[in-house]
Every structure is written in structure tokens, then in C-alpha cells.
Symmetry: C2
Subunit: 105 residues, 2 copies
DNA sequence: CAATTAATTAGCGAGTACGCTAAATAATGC
DNA sequence: GCATTATTTAGCGTACTCGCTAATTAATTG
């Protein structure tokens, strides 16, 4: 086994936006809620589940989108956000792989 | 399958310090370096690998320690930091399990 | 086309994060 | 005990985060 961290740092940097996005509890909760509700929700449906105001929700969603964790499509006057589960899982698993053997869930 | 996120939010909150700690690239790199070097290093050995000044390193180490990701023991006039791999893995895996099936490595 | 609904953008203020230098503490060695 | 080595603590400035309210854009409806 290597004693160095060769590709780790490059990988690491690529996931920077994801880890920054995950730092805020509201954003983690948004990902969970999106996940439990099937992966797609309108901005309004999301906003309804949080106590902060709509502009604050919008900004959190933008952070998640810029991190590549959500995609958004306009449908009429609503905007539908979709969880990009694979991006989240890849970032998490990619990071996790550097530490210890994978766990049998 | 449940449509709600019951224990997810509690679990989530418990890992808040870990996710905050992981938000900074230097701290992620510290965890990687500690991992690749066997899990224990003195503050000085760690500091030597980063371009920021020693007090800055100290503070990052404290953040990691408060998140439960490192433990520290005094040995003479040096301080030895130890990676608490299990805490990191549990936080990561615990969060990850809410999303999709376990990965096909 | 005026009004309503859905959501964003603009911009502000308080708090936090992160870098730094200088000073302090703690253990070791002469 | 005085100097040296290892590390932390104190304190400062800049920059970013996150909440808010007010104003704006865009699509729908009467």
C-alpha cells in the first residue's frame, strides 16, 4: 500500500464544492427531503418545509446546484429541482475510499 | 419504503460538526495525510506539510479535534494527533446510507 | 392588459471563518 | 536557571456566509 496521497488531493479538490455545500444543515436537510420525496420537487414545495424565507431557500438551492448536486428545469412558472444522487454518492464514496475498507452496509 | 425522514434529521444533526470540519480543503487534506501516514503524527510533522503558518495549522487541528475526528495526547513537548478513523467512517456511512443502495465499488 | 402567483435578484447587517504576527506556555538541555 | 524547541493563545483585518426585507422578472388567469 502506498504511503502517499497521490490522486487523493486532485479528487479532493474536485469535490470541494460538494463538501462546502454539505457544510450547512439546511442544505443537508434539503438533500434528504428531496431524496425521501423521490428526487424531484418544485422550489415552492421545498420552501414550504423550511422556516427560513424564500430568498434564503433560493440561495441554498443555488449553492447545491453549483456544487452539481441538483439540476433545475423550468416548468411554467415553477422551477423543478432534481437531486443528482449519483454526484452525491460518487463524491461521498470517492472520498470514503481513501479511508479503511468499505463497510458492508 | 418510508416517504419521510425520521431518524435522518437527528443523525444529521449529530454529524454537524463533522460536516463543518470537512468543509475546508486544508482540513480534508490533513485527514488524508494523517491517514496515509498511519494515523498518528505530531503537530510539527503536520505543520511541515502545509504552507500556512503554524497557528493556522493549530486552529485547523482544533476544529478537527472538536468535531471528534482527531484525538491528541501530549508526549514530552510535542503533541501527537491521532486520526479517529471510525468516527469519520461512521459519519460518512451513516449519512450515505440514506441515499440509494450501497455502491458497486 | 391588469392582477396574481412563483420564484429570483439586489442589497444590507451581523456573525463567523481564516489568514497573519506577536506573545505566551511548557518541556528539555546545557 | 537560562536558552532552546514545540506548540498554543491572543488579537487583528479581510472576506465570506446567512439571515432578512424590498424590488424585480416571468408565467398564468380573469
Amino acid at each position: 500500500m502506498s504511503r502517499r496521497a497521490p490522486a487523493a488531493l486532485a479528487k479532493h479538490d474536485a469535490d470541494a464544492a460538494v463538501f462546502s455545500a454539505l457544510a450547512h444543515p439546511t442544505r443537508r436537510e434539503m438533500l434528504l427531503i428531496l431524496n425521501f420525496r423521490g428526487g424531484t420537487m418544485s422550489a415552492g414545495e421545498i420552501a414550504a418545509r423550511f422556516s427560513c424565507r424564500w430568498p434564503t431557500v433560493t440561495r441554498h438551492l443555488q449553492v447545491l446546484e453549483r456544487a452539481g448536486l441538483l439540476s433545475v428545469t423550468k416548468r411554467g412558472r415553477t422551477r423543478v429541482y432534481r437531486l443528482k444522487r449519483r454526484v452525491l454518492l460518487d463524491a461521498l464514496d470517492g472520498w470514503r475510499r481513501w479511508f479503511g475498507a468499505s463497510k458492508p452496509a
